[in-house]
């Protein structure tokens, strides 16, 4: 088994054994979608224009809830240093942690899409919308995984991560919300939102892979 797969398997196993971070994220996302569904049902007959914003704010905060968890534990226990001592590229560690975070967040997002489909009576499982969610989540998780590493040695990192990550995610959020609207058949303007989303995801993923070895150097 390659070191990359070993990191993925280990992180998923740890996420399952120590579910507090991801369980909090899932609980938050579920409560948020439920609350939105009740509020919007009273306010308007057609909730579809609101769905992109509902979905992406839920995804965003659920991810921020959980993203710092794995690095925080690794830094405190010294296991991150133990991984760095091994004769493997830093990018293999990053790719492993990114993939594990991505899988965990996609599971939560899938559950939220299912819940939103039922509560908002909207067809959300279309290839276009699933593609946008996948691309946006890759870009988003790349950044949060990198920034949680950089904040790993800093006191108050749980506050630092959202403060650092949210401004950086503005282009991704705009592209993802507009692109989701377009996938739902809403008026989204003529701007190439999907292209913006794709370019941002490519930039953040490549940037994160390039910066990670520098970020973990002490």
């Amino acid at each position: 088994m390659s070191p990359f797969l070993a990191v993925v398997e280990k992180d998923l196993r740890l996420a399952w054994r120590n579910r507090s971070g991801w369980a909090s994220a899932a609980a938050f996302a579920t409560i948020a979608v439920l609350t939105y569904s009740f509020a919007f049902d009273l306010a308007t007959g057609d909730v579809r224009p609101l769905l992109p914003g509902v979905l992406w704010t839920t995804f965003l905060f659920a991810g921020v809830f959980a993203a710092g968890q794995s690095f925080q534990d690794e830094v405190e226990d010294g296991t991150f240093e133990a991984m760095r001592l091994a004769p493997i590229p830093a990018t293999a560690i990053f790719a492993g942690k990114l993939t594990a975070n991505l899988i965990a967040l996609l599971i939560i997002e899938f559950a939220q899409l299912l819940l939103a489909t039922i509560l908002f009576d909207a067809g959300l499982f279309t290839p276009a919308l699933l593609g946008i969610v996948l691309i946006g989540t890759i870009g988003y998780v790349s950044l949060t995984t990198l920034l949680s590493t950089m904040g790993g040695h800093v006191r108050g990192r749980s506050v630092l991560l959202p403060v650092l990550v949210l401004p950086l995610l503005v282009p991704l959020l705009i592209g993802a919300v507009r692109g989701t609207g377009a996938a739902l058949g809403l008026e989204a303007g003529t701007a190439p939102w999907i292209v913006l989303l794709g370019v941002f995801t490519l930039w953040s993923t490549l940037g994160a892979f390039l910066l990670f070895p520098v970020a973990v150097e002490r």
Binding site: A6, R13, L14, R17, D77, G78, T79, A82, L85, I88
Partner: protein, 261 residues
Amino acid sequence: MSAPGEPPLAGEVAIRARALTRQYGGVTVVRGVDLALPAGSKTALLGANGAGKTTLLAMLAGLISPTSGSLEIAGYARGSAGLRRAVGVLGHKPMLYEDLSPLENLRFFARLYRVSDAEARIEALLRQVGLWLRRHERTAILSRGYHQRLALARVLIHDPAVVIADEPETGLDPEGVALLDDLALRRPGLTVLAATHRIDHIQSWASGIVRLDRGRVVEDTSSLTTALVAPEAARATPATPASSGASVSPETASATGEGAR
């Protein structure tokens, strides 16, 4: 000379540092350290708290970069995969996943080091450190001493040529210390550099000492360092293998000013 990829032979230099310096902000924690520790030697790193021992070990292990100076371990330059494969690090923290079992911890690190015949190696190590019967329990519920034993197994999983340790006796009972001696500190052929305050213990394993004071080496009885600093002298002075019994004298021990815990 040993072949590339092979551990250094007895008498060759296993740990070589030249003018190794580390600064944090404007503070110099380690200043101009020269080391040349022979393969197979067992060296105790001594010094009061804050002398720079942990920083020096972290640089040698590759965990932090020196501000200046050069470093070579088992013939490999700093930052190379070869160096990381050659080194095992036993730190202050056991560096273990608390929510994984001892077996899962060792499997994970065996995969990172691409250990061949990993299952047999893991079983042998877990039996040696007395954790085979508890291999499926969560590491979090193990005692501090068992954590340290498991950490020792983690360090040895890839059969390193050099072990760098920071107070390795921490948390170990006498039986655990005996295991540490057998598996690492007194193991023939293995090069050991260990920071310790256990003067009573080092006399049983160390073949030389390096003492730090405020980041500088103030005493070095390892046989090759002088040769490194003065290359001409190196050719005139034959290397002394660690097995030559250059043990720490009682005078040295008593002069440390550090009491055994």
